[in-house]
């Protein structure tokens, strides 16, 4: 038996029987409220449905799952589970729940709620975009094909204990249990909402939804009974929607807004960063994102690996980073640098148009060829596509740009009709901080099926087998597992189905009155900020 976190949980149990131990910021003052703005209205706050970067962090503050992350980091910690045991074969997880945790409606959370929530998210009628993450739980297939209404692998042992059996080993399972999709919801509130749970959310989180005026604002109020003692610091978080980023910036400068959720508008970026007073309120950090060009390996001449390598060598990544005012770092492999499994000593394909031209000639294309580059039609993506077009022209490849709406690019990518796609605006951002998340859907055989997100339609069964082997290991952070993943991505790069272009940096602008450690403002899991832990200074 492996008892990873039991010791810390025991200390917690001794110190504060009903609450989790929490390292509180000694400088933090409780109270006050902040205003966060967004351009788009919030689509839903249902944790089984919400899957955009706007509602992801909001749902995190309203709900909890069995697992969670240490704020500002990618390190797992127990959430609603006080501790857990893993069987030696890694196939059975037993979660011991915290006692005395209450939903916003006052009822105590029990093991039955955990089971109900997992059943609900995997039930086809829920239409959860995250259902597939739970594929490793025993009985998932029966849920997906409609032959069962409850997950056979999830068993309530007693009100404070849940056992989850897997049908195959899954190293990422604890990360999956930290996803919003695994949040624990109360059955009676879901049923009372009559299909509108996304507008009337009830969870165990640090905040509860106090007010929602559609199209105008949402107000989150502090949950006084929150099980992490002393948190949250803020009394309210007000989300004002329908605010253009440029207007949000003006309002921030006027002292009316604390965090513009859509970030600094690109056109104003240099102005803000050039003003020391404003730049002092900007926090920069990495994010688990890679921007790339997919090269469709089914469409000639891109089916020739030498041609794909030549294109890799033709792209001037530094210039593309300049186009977006240096808000990114050049990339040479699919994984972003802050992801475990990233290969540090890999140099990638060097920028060398002369050599690229020669490689094309050797591949029998001395005059280049004509192709199409698909791109999403919002700034700065068409400008980036033009830079790519010029780089390709320099080696004789004439790419015509198809600048179309996001949904249409995704459709063409899924159908496999696009020879090349610049991923900007749709680029992969990790669901959870594990190297496997950059493989299956976007580079593996499963994602290469019709409609999948593997837009280069790259499928190498040998690499797929190695990826599967890496994911069958029990400890997600084991060095030998990370080595295997590093190896997978190196083999992918030898086949060059992508041109990795850059990893975007995050720049969060906040008002001068906001306090809390910098990493809370570039939290890899809660974008733009971790609402539970930030505070106001005045």
């Amino acid at each position: 038996m492996k008892k990873l976190l039991v010791s810390t949980a025991l200390i917690a149990a001794l110190a504060l029987p009903a609450f989790a131990q929490e390292t509180l910021d000694p400088n933090a003052k409780p109270g006050g409220g902040i205003v966060v703005t967004y351009k788009d209205d919030v689509a839903t706050l249902d944790p089984a449905i919400g899957y955009d970067w706007q509602n992801w962090s909001m749902i995190k503050s309203l709900f909890d799952g069995l697992m969670d992350y240490i704020p500002g980091t990618t390190e797992l910690r127990p959430g609603l589970a006080e501790s857990y045991d893993v069987s030696a074969d890694g196939m059975t997880f037993t979660f011991h729940l915290r006692k005395g945790v209450k939903f916003h409606n006052g009822r105590e959370m029990t093991a039955d709620d955990v089971k109900y929530s997992l059943d609900r998210v995997t039930l086809p009628a829920t239409q959860s975009p995250g259902a597939g993450f739970f594929g490793a739980i025993a009985g998932y297939d029966a849920m997906a094909d409609g032959s069962a209404t409850s997950l056979a692998g999830v068993t309530v042992i007693d009100p404070a204990t849940v056992e989850i059996k897997l049908s195959r080993p899954d190293a990422t399972f604890l990360h999956v249990m930290a996803l919003n999709f695994a949040s624990v919801v109360p059955k009676e509130a879901v049923e009372a909402a009559n299909g509108d749970f996304g507008k009337m959310p009830v969870g165990t989180g640090a905040f509860k939804l106090q007010e929602w005026t559609i199209g105008q604002k949402l107000v989150f109020a502090k949950n006084p009974d929150y099980w992490r003692a002393g948190l949250p610091y803020l009394d309210t978080v007000t989300f004002e929607v329908g605010q253009e980023p440029i207007v949000a910036l003006l309002r921030l400068q006027n002292g009316e807004v604390d965090v513009p959720g859509d970030g600094i508008p690109p056109a104003k970026f240099q102005e803000v960063m050039g003003d020391p007073a404003q730049a002092a309120n900007v926090v920069e950090g990495g994010q688990l994102q890679t921007g790339y060009i997919t090269l469709n390996v089914k469409i000639p001449p891109l089916d020739n690996v030498e041609v794909r390598k030549a294109i890799n060598m033709a792209i001037n990544k530094d210039r593309i980073v300049q186009i977006i005012n240096g808000r990114a770092v050049p990339a040479n492999q699919p994984l972003p640098p802050s992801m475990p499994g990233y290969t540090k000593d890999y140099k990638g394909y060097e920028y060398n148009p002369e050599a690229a031209k020669k490689m094309l000639a050797d591949a029998g294309l001395p005059d280049g060829f004509e192709t199409e580059l698909y791109v999403m039609n919002t700034d700065p993506n068409p400008r980036i596509a033009q830079a790519i077009q010029q780089d390709l022209a320099a080696i004789g490849v004439k790419a015509s740009i198809q600048s179309i709406a996001q949904a249409n690019v995704i459709e063409a990518g899924g159908a496999g009709t696009a020879p090349m796609i610049w991923s900007g605006g749709m680029a992969w951002i990790a669901d959870f901080p594990d190297p496997s998340n950059f493989y299956g859907p976007i580079l593996g055989c499963s994602g290469a099926a019709d409609g999948g997100w593997n837009w280069s339609k790259f499928c190498d069964p040998a690499i797929d087998a190695e990826a599967a082997a890496a994911d069958s290991m029990i400890d997600p952070a084991a060095p030998e597992r990370l080595k295997m993943w590093s190896d997978v991505y190196m083999k992918v790069m030898e086949q060059a189905p992508w041109v990795p272009v850059f990893n975007e940096q995050r720049f969060t602008l906040k008002s001068a009155r906001m306090g809390g450690a910098d990493n809370l403002y570039v939290d890899p899991v809660s974008i733009p900020v971790n609402y539970d832990y930030v505070y106001v200074k005045e």
Partner: protein
């Protein structure tokens, strides 16, 4: 009159049916799949197939359209694919804001436009006339986004007279309405000017003047009511232009109207919302035209619509 209204209502219903068919068809042939948007990037093929079946999107076009119409006749505009909420509720929550902005915008257009038109007509050919007509040309051509941001910057950010966007108090309404008023006033100014010039040349005006009535009284009591007819017809058409045109202004000022809702839905191919907003807008256009047709004969008994 009753027969006229009845005939017009039948015509309006046919127009709305046509609008619904064309919109539904365009969304059907769009090279983008709403199910992919719902299912998200991590979905398995089985999840995608399940959602397609549940929403009936695996059915042929005719069946899908028939189902939508059947719902519509029961007053059901369907549920948003992504928000999982009744479209009727979403639209009703935002419609009052759009109607308020539209009413205020038209009022601002009329006040600015008619004043400009009357003044230009009285002093036609002079410097005042030329500069006003020049101004109207500039405002009609100016991009909404620029005018909105300019007003916002000057009157809200620099002078601090009005709030920087938002909704709720009369102060919030001033700048968005003024933006629409400035942009649309040029049309009214031009129509009013030419109509007024024509009326001022008419015999009854000369008679009124000859009777010794004050010039001011002649213009306001005799000329204006007669010159205003084309303007009323214009308002009806304007309602239609507004339904499409306030999207940008709503965006800049953070005004919670249906324009914002439509814009977001289009990005994500949320068909029930796109259909709902399109139909509501079409209703407004049809009603606007209908009202104009009905009101004009009331003001001027010479006009009879058959």
């Amino acid at each position: 009159m009753a027969a006229l209204i009845f005939r017009r209502l039948i015509q309006s219903a046919l127009i709305l049916l046509g609008v619904s068919f064309i919109t539904f068809f365009l969304l059907y042939v769009l090279p983008a799949d709403p199910v992919r948007q719902i299912a998200g990037r991590s979905a398995t093929p089985q999840t995608v197939a399940n959602i397609r079946e549940q929403l009936g999107l695996d059915q042929p076009f005719v069946v899908q359209y028939a189902r939508y119409l059947a719902g519509l006749f029961h007053g059901d505009m369907g549920r948003s694919y992504l928000q999982k909420t009744d479209v009727t509720a979403l639209i009703m929550a935002r419609l009052p804001a759009s109607l308020l902005l539209m009413a205020a915008g038209i009022a601002a257009e009329l006040v600015i436009g008619l004043t400009m038109g009357v003044i230009a007509a009285i002093w036609r050919g002079r410097v005042v006339d030329n500069s006003l007509m020049m101004t109207s040309f500039v405002t009609v051509s100016a991009p909404q986004f620029v005018v909105a941001l300019l007003l916002l910057y000057v009157f809200a950010v620099k002078l601090g007279w009005f709030p920087i966007g938002g909704y709720g108090t009369p102060a919030h309404l001033v700048l968005p309405a003024l933006t629409l008023g400035i942009l649309g006033s040029g049309w009214y100014a031009r129509i009013m000017r030419s109509s007024m010039i024509e009326v001022l040349r008419a015999d009854f005006i000369r008679t009124a003047r000859a009777k010794g009535l004050a010039r001011r009284r002649v213009i306001l009591r005799h000329a204006l009511p007669n010159a205003i007819l084309p303007v009323i017809a214009m308002i009806g058409i304007d309602i239609g232009i507004f339904m499409g045109g306030i999207v940008v202004v709503e965006g800049v000022f953070g005004w919670p109207g249906i324009g914002q809702l439509a814009w977001q839905a289009i990005q994500r191919i949320d068909i029930p919302i796109i259909m709902g907003v399109t139909l509501v807008s079409a209703c407004a256009i049809v009603l606007g035209n209908l009202l104009a047709d009905l009101v004009v004969p009331l003001i001027d008994p010479r006009i009879r619509i058959r």
